[in-house]
């Protein structure tokens, strides 16, 4: 059973405190190619700090992160230089923020938002960049006629889809998502979830998605990590954790879902 395959990302004993406040304590996991892991837990449980640690935006107090580079060699991310990390962040990683205004440049056109990531990796031919941007707008269900509009006149759902296009245009292998669907109307949310589900499967992306919405976790993820007060308290297959939760806190989370 292809157990010889190497994980894409390995976290070992990650820890981070802010003063006396522990945000993450001893977090370890392996993420394989094509795997979607949801991190659930309530506000303040350390989910977002974990994402910042994984994207190297925050330095851990302890622990390490290893990543299998495109050449197949797994390297310690802490030992990479600034330039190498920046290159990874621009090409091989994506980061989808809850608030699209953080992940987009609001004052430039949709086409430029998508094209910018391509230019950062050396694309120079204007026609090709525009064509690729158009293809991606189409893939995320944005009318290509809107390519020259700025995202500040887009709806919330369109902005979020544009942010996804901007992230995926360089063909990343690892995408981190921080509550990508919260703050959207339910109908808009359903459309975005469906789109994400298809893209993740078609592109075989590895995803860590932080969400407090267990329905989103069930729909998108293969497995779940439940966090409470900075610690991982339960992990497993998504349906197993949701249908047969063991920890008191996980049982409380599952029991608190409203059934429409």
């Amino acid at each position: 059973m292809s157990e010889d395959e190497q994980p894409l990302l390995i976290a070992e004993g990650l820890a981070k405190s802010f003063g006396r406040q522990v945000a993450c304590r001893d977090i370890s996991f392996s993420l394989y190619e094509g795997e979607v892991m949801a991190v659930v837990g309530e506000s303040g449980s350390g989910k977002s700090t974990l994402l910042r640690l994984l994207s190297m935006q925050t330095k851990p107090d302890a622990g390490c992160l290893r990543y299998r580079m495109r050449d197949g060699v797994t390297r310690d991310l802490g030992a990479l230089g600034e330039a190498e990390l920046r290159f990874l962040a621009r090409t091989d990683w994506g980061f989808v923020h809850q608030d699209p205004t953080l992940g987009l440049r609001m004052a430039v056109s949709a086409g430029a938002n998508v094209g910018e990531r391509l230019m950062a990796v050396g694309w120079r031919h204007y026609g090709e960049i525009r064509q690729t941007a158009k293809n991606w707008l189409d893939r995320v269900e944005i009318e290509t006629a809107r390519i020259d509009d700025r995202p500040d006149i887009y709806s919330g759902g369109m902005r979020q889809r544009l942010q996804i296009a901007r992230n995926l245009v360089t063909g990343p292998r690892l995408v981190l998502m921080d509550e990508p669907t919260s703050g959207l109307d339910v109908s808009v949310q359903a459309r975005l979830l469906d789109l994400l589900r298809h893209l993740v499967a078609a592109l075989k992306l590895s995803v860590v998605i932080v969400t407090h919405d267990l329905a989103v976790a069930r729909l998108l993820s293969h497995r779940i990590m439940v966090m409470k007060a900075g610690e991982v308290i339960e992990t497993g297959l998504t349906d197993q954790v949701l249908d047969d939760p063991h920890e008191p806190y996980t049982q409380l989370l599952v029991a608190s879902i409203l059934q429409p």
Binding site: M1, S2, Y32, E35, A190, R191, L193, D194, R197, A201, L219, H222, R223, G236, L237, D239, Q240, D243, D244, H246, E247, P248, Q251, L252, A255
Partner: protein, 232 residues
Amino acid sequence: MTASLELRDVGKSFTMHLQGGLRLSVLSGISFSVGAGDCVVLDGRSGLGKSTILKMVFGNYRCDSGKILVRHDGETVDVATATPRQMLELRRRTIGYVTQFLRAVPRVPAIDVVAEPLLLAGTSPEVARNKAMEMLRQLNIPETLWRIPPATFSGGEQQRVNIARALIAEHPILLLDEPTASLDAENRSRVVALLAARRAAGTAMVGTFHDGEARSSVATRIFSLPERSEAA
């Protein structure tokens, strides 16, 4: 192991932390094996843990004690200790599961719901789609419904979409949780005939059937769940 599936001394209890740590012991000492072409029907009154056994084999519920051995690619994998990745791999290629209810995903049309397991197993989209159409036809789902998400379908139609989805990938092990419960007589006969054909072709099956016709046409063996004292 020559059987396709073997349970050895399997036990399961639930601890309800929100009810003051109430512990419900549901199953203990369950052992049976299922070979290719066998259909073991789990028998016993409601609440004895028939569905729980199916959920444990599928990895949907955790197995507290004992072993659940599954033959996969000529190797034996213990579901009780399998990693999430191994479990997903078992579901992709070895174990199919007809649940009692379809969990419909918003916006996904019936044909794609049915085709999905084949796509996950690596089949090309055209082949998967053609096979999905064939399954929907076999299960008597009107063609006008194929492009509509099944959330609005009748109970019987949803159940048949569910069965089509579970059967499409032709997994060597099939778990059946009341597959004919919400079907009318005609559709029940269709489903029973389809299951009997699969079993005759060598699929190993475990299931629960209330319906006598389904039981007598598909089952090769009955496993009676032991009664337990309620004072756990």
